[in-house]
Symmetry: C2
Subunit: 348 residues, 2 copies
């Protein structure tokens, strides 16, 4: 088990420390951890947010634990030097095309959501976002129109292979859940979506046990507010997934508890909390490490097939919550290390 | 005052009847109403969702009152015959580039929102969505990749003139409100957004009294759930606006009460409720005509500069709500015509 540990910026380092302690407490054999720089910290040390050695490590490791990147002081840099390019570069270079974002209400914490507790409490969905195509990676640039005006452009596109591989992941995920899949697109306007819908329908033929529906993205954004409990697995493209997965996380309310996985065709995956680098609270020891620990659990499950250990980690985090050991983000006062201690104690 | 009345499909006819009664009750001089077919009803009668004579009328009228289009039985038609093409065609042909979608909580109705009453109750925002550019109107189609795979594509683009004209509308709108403008884009990924942000900044120089901020669209989708009360005017492009404006409406909860205006450079505008044709309840006389009546009020304000009459109409709708004359969508039992009657009675 060779893990690339990319803690990154802001609270990334603090929460990673606790996730590694929790992993350690599981007493796993053959755990090899290699640390490398990514994001703003990598730019400051090496002049690039995704140094060559970091990328090499990520490519050779079995899995990547990723903290967070983001450094407001570096926002002014040109595109290739900004932290986003590290995120996009890792996804593309490792072909991590499937982003899994489970959003589930935590019992007792429904009140943290801006949604009514009964609405938030019903959330138990998985967003499957395509991560290496769409308007993110098409041709893009600045040009001059015939009328001599400045214009920015980005080409949105999906080919059938890109759609089909993520669709298969989504259908299989639905089979392991409540067997409902809602594919979100804008097929009444976009040709990219017309192909998307067609290919999803074709793939559906192989999964007769999964109930497939289609929804336009504007309606999906409404339904995620009105009644998010209606969704099981939501499949969508890169840009719509960017928007809807963040919206869904916020509907749950406790984004300090939400983890994510980005997978390719192999078992290699990248695992990260959905919250960001939170520069405002970095270095204070008050960040909630739970989402990072839960990301490590996802890693054990998806990259190493260690369902038992993954479940143990998740249960430990849940028990700590039930004990009322809550970080400031959840209305409590436990520090980063206190939460980590409590999780380790549970695992002992 | 020459008004093109395009009632459209489903509940469109029923709610339009009440809006016209309300307009009539205002006792306006020189009101000329010309009716024409649009949407599924137009397709069935004339073979096209936007017949030439309808488009001509819309182009020559001073304003367009638009009900709703949408007919599930016609969803299988090819693109140019589907109702969406009427919507997009009107926007493009009339160059209605500025879509105004106010979303405001109605006192006493906060509980209809899935958001907590104190969160929903604080909503008072205006979304300004660009309506004639972006990935909606760029080159699009199906093609074959070099590897021989099917691919769908759509070009997203904005030029500086398109951004600047909607930005001016947004800044002026902000001046008439709480003087806060939040421009939403995805400038960390999209070149279209990089230009968008640059031009918005340039236009901002002319409006020093307006406080401008920028937000990524994924964050905006989160903030609209977490704390929608933070927004005053939200400016965004066509596709992000499609998603965010529907999300914002649902946050308010009572979408039967929300109106919209689509404007160009002249005072000609198209006014429509944000809800759709609701085929499930069409013809039953139970649709809530309030949003249609409020759309007529927006028309009086924006196309005819009749602020007094617009306010009278809006006040009448608000009073009827306060009297507890509520449609089924708001938990009451008033019929379409009963709500219309009550509004007319208020105006008398
Ligand atoms: C940082 C940014 C490029 C990224 C994205 O848009 O994909 C982020 O928002 C995310 O969702 O992981
Ligand atoms: C019907 C459709 C083309 C349209 C759009 O996407 O603009 C609708 O969703 C809207 O928001 O008016």
């Amino acid at each position: 088990m060779h893990i690339a540990v990319l803690a990154g910026d802001g609270i990334g380092q603090e929460i990673m420390t606790e996730a590694l302690r929790a992993l350690d407490a599981l007493g796993l054999d053959d755990l090899r951890l290699d640390h490398a720089d990514v994001g703003g910290v990598a730019y400051r040390k090496h002049g690039r947010p995704l140094p060559e050695e970091t990328l090499e490590l990520a490519k050779t490791a079995d899995a990547i634990l990723f903290g967070a990147v983001g450094d407001p002081e570096l926002d002014g840099l040109r595109r290739e030097l900004r932290v986003e390019s590290a995120v996009l570069g890792l996804r593309k270079e490792l072909q991590l095309f499937a982003n899994l974002r489970p959003a589930k209400a935590f019992a007792g914490l429904e009140d943290l959501s801006a949604l009514k507790p009964e609405v938030a409490g019903a959330i138990d969905l998985l967003i499957l976002r395509e991560l290496t195509g769409d308007v993110y990676f098409g041709e893009k640039g600045q040009r001059t129109t015939e009328a001599g005006r400045r214009e920015g452009y980005d080409v949105m596109a999906y080919d059938e292979d890109e759609v089909s591989r993520i669709a298969h992941v989504a259908f299989r995920a639905a089979q392991g859940r409540r067997k409902k899949l809602c594919s979100v697109d804008k097929a009444n306007v976009l040709q990219t979506s017309v192909l998307w819908r067609k290919v999803v329908e074709e793939v559906a033929a192989e999964y007769p046990d999964v109930e497939l529906s289609h929804m336009y993205v504007d309606n999906a954004a409404m339904q995620l507010v009105r009644n998010p409990g209606q969704f099981d697995v939501v499949l969508t493209g890169n840009i719509f997934g960017d928007i809807l997965s963040d919206q869904a996380s916020m509907c749950v309310g406790s984004i300090g508890l939400l983890a994510s996985a980005s997978l390719g065709t192999s078992t290699r995956g990248l695992y990260e909390p959905i919250h960001g680098s939170a520069p405002d609270i970095a270095g204070q020891g008050i960040a909630n490490p739970s989402a990072m620990i839960l990301s490590a659990a996802m890693m054990l499950r998806h990259s190493f097939g260690m369902e038992t250990e993954a479940t143990r980690l998740e249960a430990a985090v849940a028990q700590v919550l039930e004990q009322g050991v809550l970080g400031q983000d959840l209305g409590g006062s436990a520090s980063t290390s206190e939460i980590g201690d409590a999780v380790v104690a549970q695992l002992a």
